[in-house]
């Protein structure tokens, strides 16, 4: 955090000064480790063993916050008799189809609920699996019926007992043997976490998005959530699971998404097969007995369609639902890049993104972009994704030729964050309005200007079209007021549109609860409704902390409805009393008959703790007075996920797709449902005990430095920052240096099946070999900021990484892999290709390497 979020880290230092204990778990000793009270090393890619062993420590020692767990989580729910755990299937959950490598999750359901119908069949191994994107990011629905429960938590099939059995083998000894973390250091973490949780204390879990960059990334975060739920750290002040993003407004770009499978507010993007009309779409989000606020999905969706298409959206035409594009499979960034290579995509917009450096398998990225009709790059500088056709590494190897590259590149200079207005949304879901400090120079323009005027011009060109396919463009509401000589659209007008209006009065909505499904309201993102309540830009509020209470509700605006802590009903006990005076946050005021407290309560204001839903009710009505998790289909925090995930209801340890070791827990090495792309241009390395894995004997992870920003587009081109870290380097331990005959600052190169990357080595005690039983594992780190452009240049570390994805969210496994380390510089030009070919030959790599077979993963044995 100090390394990548130095400004945010001031609050950690502030907390530390007040007595907080800071624990840093990381394969690499960073600037955060230097300031932490305890640094905990571990082998990259083993986090589920680490976290699972904490779960086990909690359960075996009875340290869970029992009152919270029984009342607020699904610990007492019984799991269906059909469910079989990884412990009994050697690393597979029940429902696995070895042909397609996908799960049928119906056996993971609660006992007493029906299996959900899944109309889409499982996809193949070609990466075009249709299932994951349909899960969306909303609280997943449950099948019909009431889950059976055992509040004593003794029933062998209750979630609590299932969890206990599932993690029983995840012990401190296993942590030492698999993660390489010394047992005493691990137990110190267990004690610190559990002793700082409970009625009187809470612990926050902060992760950085490197955690998501694994083939089991979603399950990492699930594992963290399980611990936080068991310890009662959710919905309470000082608790939570907080993601630190790579950029200033990545939270905002999932809320109002740049993701192919989501519409604003975590509504799923409609699917071509199943969502033939609005009713079918809404039914797929809202289960027949859906509890909670997702039951209002029809109002959110219709308001969105009204925001998009205004008067054209009418009940008779399904509010223009058919104007929306449909998803036909995985259209995530990696599938797209491979589709570009295959000639299936003709154009590409890159707004502030530099995939030639920042995305996994850089060569595939560049070869894909070199096979387009056009690419539009909007950035502060002419980054590698705009220059790959003339100075990318493939020019040297002859794989791209500037004279024959067919791609037409349009580079458009972008306005920086101080040259445009708008909001940033950070990890706490807080929107903060940002003023324009100076006018952008020359042709630099904001993204808002670009999008608006591009749309305007396209609409002008299509104005006389009678073709039905142009209706979605022509029917759009596209009339933002503009100002200044550049005709910059008013960002606050866009924010007001996102907030939504009561269309009968023209007044801004103040709550998503006021949204209607009859077309009388509009709203561009239902969770943001209220940000323009009363016609006032609430995100622009800057009342100083000294002039308000500690929750500081008048600084910016947090979605939803300015709630600073989600699910904060959980900060009070089932009867509505604070768990303790020290941690009082919101509580039930019996005399007034309403919830009150420091924050906007995340509950219906007058719903008493003793409220019990009438039989057969749905929506918010079905949420009991002591069900805090109001977006979940059962109102509970999910220790066990009966639906919504495609790779298992519980986290289980799998080795990274490319690992030095076989899975010590199960016959199944890597995540069996991981998304794979077996093609000759995406070679996969043998892993674990497979023959040829010894060719790549070290673990590497890519990382960031404070001095540079992600793919370098904002730092390598800036002299002041380039000065600070003027050259790529590889960090290695003294032990590894001597093993490879390297001295400090010597040239060396890393080799994988994809590429070789050269840099000088920093030999440092900050990297320490890990002992796994009799084996010593060397890990090395390389920052991924460099590329061929800018003031300081270097090889792109992401070129080393292949394309293997988490199946839930299509995020690449780029934070752990295996490699070789050799002294000296790498070959260049054609010789590099020969060199890599030789490595692949020695390791026995062909396109099928890494595919599940009986021989290499034990499937079907």
């Amino acid at each position: 955090m100090a390394e990548c979020h130095p400004v945010g880290f001031q609050w950690v230092m502030e907390a530390k000064a007040r007595g907080a204990r800071v624990i840093h778990v990381d394969p690499r000793f960073t600037r955060t480790s230097a300031l932490a009270d305890t640094y905990v090393p571990l082998r990259a890619g083993t986090d589920i063993v680490f976290l699972g062993a904490i779960v086990s420590y909690i359960l075996e020692n009875g340290l869970d916050f029992r009152d919270y767990v029984v009342a607020y989580t699904n610990a007492s729910h019984l799991v269906s008799e059909d469910f079989v755990d990884t412990e009994d299937l050697d690393g597979l959950f029940s429902g696995f189809d070895p042909e397609s490598c996908t799960y049928d999750p119906s056996s993971w359901r609660y006992a007493g609920t029906a299996a959900r119908s899944r109309s889409s069949g499982p996809g193949g191994t070609d990466g075009a699996d249709g299932a994951p994107h349909e899960e969306g990011s909303h609280g997943p629905p449950l099948g019909d019926g009431d889950p059976e429960r055992d509040p004593t938590l003794r029933h062998p099939r209750c979630v609590y007992q299932v969890l206990k059995r599932h993690f029983a083998r995840y012990t401190p000894e296993l942590v030492e043997a698999v993660c390489g973390t010394p047992k005493d250091v691990f137990l110190e973490v267990c004690r610190a976490w559990t002793s700082s949780s409970g009625r009187d204390r809470t612990t926050a879990l902060v992760y950085s998005v490197g955690w998501t960059q694994h083939s089991v990334g979603v399950q990492y975060i699930r594992a963290g959530s399980i611990i936080q739920l068991l310890l009662g750290n959710m919905g309470r002040p000082g608790g939570g699971v907080l993601a630190l993003r790579g950029h200033a407004s990545i939270q905002g770009s999932t809320d109002i998404p740049t993701l192919f499978d989501l519409l604003p507010g975590y509504l799923p993007m409609p699917d071509a097969k199943d969502h033939l009309d609005l009713t079918a779409y809404v039914d797929s989000i809202v289960g027949p007995r859906q509890k909670g606020f997702w039951a209002g999905a029809d109002t959110y969706m219709v308001s969105l369609l009204k925001a998009y298409w205004g008067d054209a959206a009418q009940p008779e035409n399904d509010f223009c639902f058919d104007h929306l594009p449909r998803v036909t499979g995985d259209h995530g960034t990696y599938q797209q890049v491979l589709d570009m290579i295959d000639g299936k995509i003709s154009g590409y917009f890159l707004l502030g993104q530099n995939p030639a450096v920042g995305s996994a398998h850089g060569k595939a990225q560049r070869l894909g972009m070199a096979n387009l009709d056009w690419v539009v790059v909007r950035d502060l500088f002419e980054i590698e994704s705009a220059t790959f056709w003339r100075d990318g590494p493939e020019i040297q190897t002859g794989e791209i030729s500037a004279s024959t590259c067919r791609t037409e590149v349009f580079f458009l200079p972008a306005a920086s964050h101080v040259e445009k207005e708008g909001t940033f949304t950070q990890t706490q879901r807080l929107l903060q309005w940002r003023e324009k400090a100076v006018e952008p120079e020359g042709d630099c323009r904001s993204e808002l200007w670009f999008s608006f005027h591009l749309g305007r011009r396209v609409r002008e060109k299509l104005a006389r079209s009678t073709d039905d396919r142009d209706r979605p463009i022509l029917d759009l509401t596209w009339d933002y007021p503009t100002e200044g000589v550049t005709a910059e659209p008013r960002a606050d007008a866009v924010l007001a549109e996102i907030n939504g209006f009561d269309l009968s009065t023209g007044a801004p909505l103040s709550s998503f609860l006021d949204m209607r499904a009859d077309g009388t309201t509009s709203g561009g993102c239902w969770i943001y409704t209220g940000v323009y309540a009363g016609g006032v830009n609430q995100a622009a509020r800057r009342r100083p902390g000294s002039e308000q209470d500690w929750v500081a509700a008048e600084w910016g605006w947090a979605w939803p409805l300015n709630r600073r802590i989600l699910y904060n009903r959980a900060s009070a006990d089932p009867e509505g009393r604070p768990w303790s005076d020290r941690k009082a946050y919101v509580w039930w005021d019996q005399a007034a008959g309403e919830w009150t407290g420091h924050d906007v309560v995340d509950f219906e204001r007058t719903k008493a703790p003793g409220y019990r839903p009438p039989p057969g009710s749905r929506g918010p009505l079905a949420i009991a007075g002591d069900d805090p998790f109001v977006m979940q289909a059962d109102g509970k925090g999910w220790l066990f996920a009966p639906s919504g995930l495609v790779d298992g209801p519980l986290p289980a340890h799998y080795e990274p797709a490319e690992s030095l070791v076989a899975n010590p827990l199960y016959g199944q090495d890597a995540n069996p449902a991981r998304q794979r792309f077996p093609r000759s241009d995406n070679p996969h390395q043998p892993s674990g005990a497979q023959s040829g894995s010894g060719v790549f004997p070290y673990v590497f992870t890519t990382s960031r430095l404070t001095e540079h920003h992600t793919a370098g587009g904002m730092s390598r081109y800036v002299g002041r920052l380039a000065d600070l870290q003027p050259e790529l380097f590889i960090e290695i331990s003294p032990g590894l240096a001597s093993e490879r005959g390297l001295s400090h600052l010597d040239w060396a190169h890393l080799v994988t099946a994809r590429s070789a990357v050269e840099a000088r080595v920093l030999v440092t005690d900050r990297l320490r070999p890990l002992r796994l039983g009799e084996r010593v594992v060397h890990q090395l780190c390389i920052p991924y900021h460099w590329g061929t452009g800018g003031i300081t240049t270097g090889d792109a570390a992401n070129d080393l990484v292949g394309i293997t994805l988490d199946p839930n969210v299509h995020i690449q496994e780029s934070k752990v892999g295996t490699c070789d380390l050799r002294a000296g510089r790498r070959p260049s030009g054609q010789a590099l290709l020969t060199y890599l070919e030789d490595y692949r030959r020695r390791a026995g790599i062909d396109p099928a390497t890494g595919l599940p077979t009986a021989a290499n993963e034990g499937i079907g044995t």
Partner: protein, 300 residues
């Protein structure tokens, strides 16, 4: 004991008043608390940017994460990174509680403690500033804030100040010839703004303020760290009775000063000048007397 027992000139004093600023505001300075430094180098960038300090050599030094190297004409703030290996007798050796321990994780099996120290160094703005004492042009002067500033339009590049500095701070700029160093953002102080480095520091490792306040804050912080078991925490440069009469930029260090590349016992290099002048004066007087006597003798 006073460093300058025989000289009233070098007694602890308020340098601004001593330099003739009759209505001098309270003396200001930096308290750099290295126990809070996260090595982000925002101070370096803010300083370079505000003061238009040209860039450095831009090469990988291999000095941990430091590629600036040292304070100089083109580096008025410099963050040092010290990777420190502390070999212990064995795994039972108590580990410094405030800092991470890697004991027992050494692949070779040895017990090694490790810590990574970071510190942002800067001109000390000494109470007794030798650079200022030796400057023949008056380019270096004492401001009303008690700070020491080079006037770039007066400096003639003679370079006397450079060997005079006991810390090696002030430096001649290549291709320019003049001497440059931290001004404690003289222009910002005049505008009632804090210096750029302190403003940019995210963790308040660099604290700007009135020197008396800073000294009180520093004393409390050291006590706090000692209470927390960090026995090595010490203050460097805050003592008005040290060899430079105390500095306006002082530090809380987590190890001995020399570990950070700071002189353990700095002394103003012009300390002996009065005595030297007295001796030279005496010698001259003796010579004069001798000459007179010789002449008188000759006449005789």
């Amino acid at each position: 004991m006073k460093a300058f027992p025989d000289s009233s000139v070098f007694d602890p004093l308020d340098p601004a008043t001593e330099s003739g600023h009759l209505d001098a505001p309270p003396r200001v300075g930096f308290f750099t608390d290295t126990s809070l430094c996260i090595g982000c180098k925002a101070c370096e960038v803010a300083c370079n940017e505000w003061n238009e300090v040209p860039g450095g050599d831009r090469r990988l030094l291999g000095s941990s994460y430091d590629n600036t190297g040292a304070l100089g004409a083109n580096a008025w703030r410099h963050v040092v990174f010290i990777e420190q290996r502390v070999t212990t007798e064995g795994p039972s050796e108590p580990v410094e509680p405030a800092f991470p321990s890697l004991s027992g994780t050494d692949g070779g099996g040895g017990g090694i403690d490790f810590r990574w120290l970071m510190s942002s160094d800067v001109c000390k703005h000494c109470t007794h500033a030798a650079c200022l004492d030796v400057c023949p042009t008056g380019s270096l002067f004492r401001t009303k804030f008690g700070t020491v500033v080079v006037q770039d339009d007066i400096c003639n590049g003679c370079g006397y100040c450079i060997p005079a500095c006991p810390y090696g701070v002030i430096d001649q700029r290549e291709g320019d010839g003049r001497a440059w160093k931290c001004t404690l953002c003289y222009d910002r102080l005049e505008a009632d703004l804090e210096p750029a480095c302190a403003k940019a520091c995210p963790t308040d490792s660099i604290q700007f303020g009135e020197l008396d306040d800073l000294r009180a804050r520093a004393a409390a912080r050291v006590e706090h760290l000692h209470d927390a078991g960090i026995g090595q925490a010490l203050l460097y440069g805050e003592d008005p009775e040290d060899g430079v009469g105390g500095s306006a930029a002082f530090f809380l260090l987590l190890d001995r000063p020399e570990v950070y590349g700071l002189p353990p016992d700095p002394v103003v290099t012009t300390r002996d000048l009065p005595a030297m002048w007295r001796r030279a004066g005496a010698a001259a007087a003796t010579m004069a007397v001798g000459t007179v006597i010789a002449f008188l003798g000759h006449r005789r």
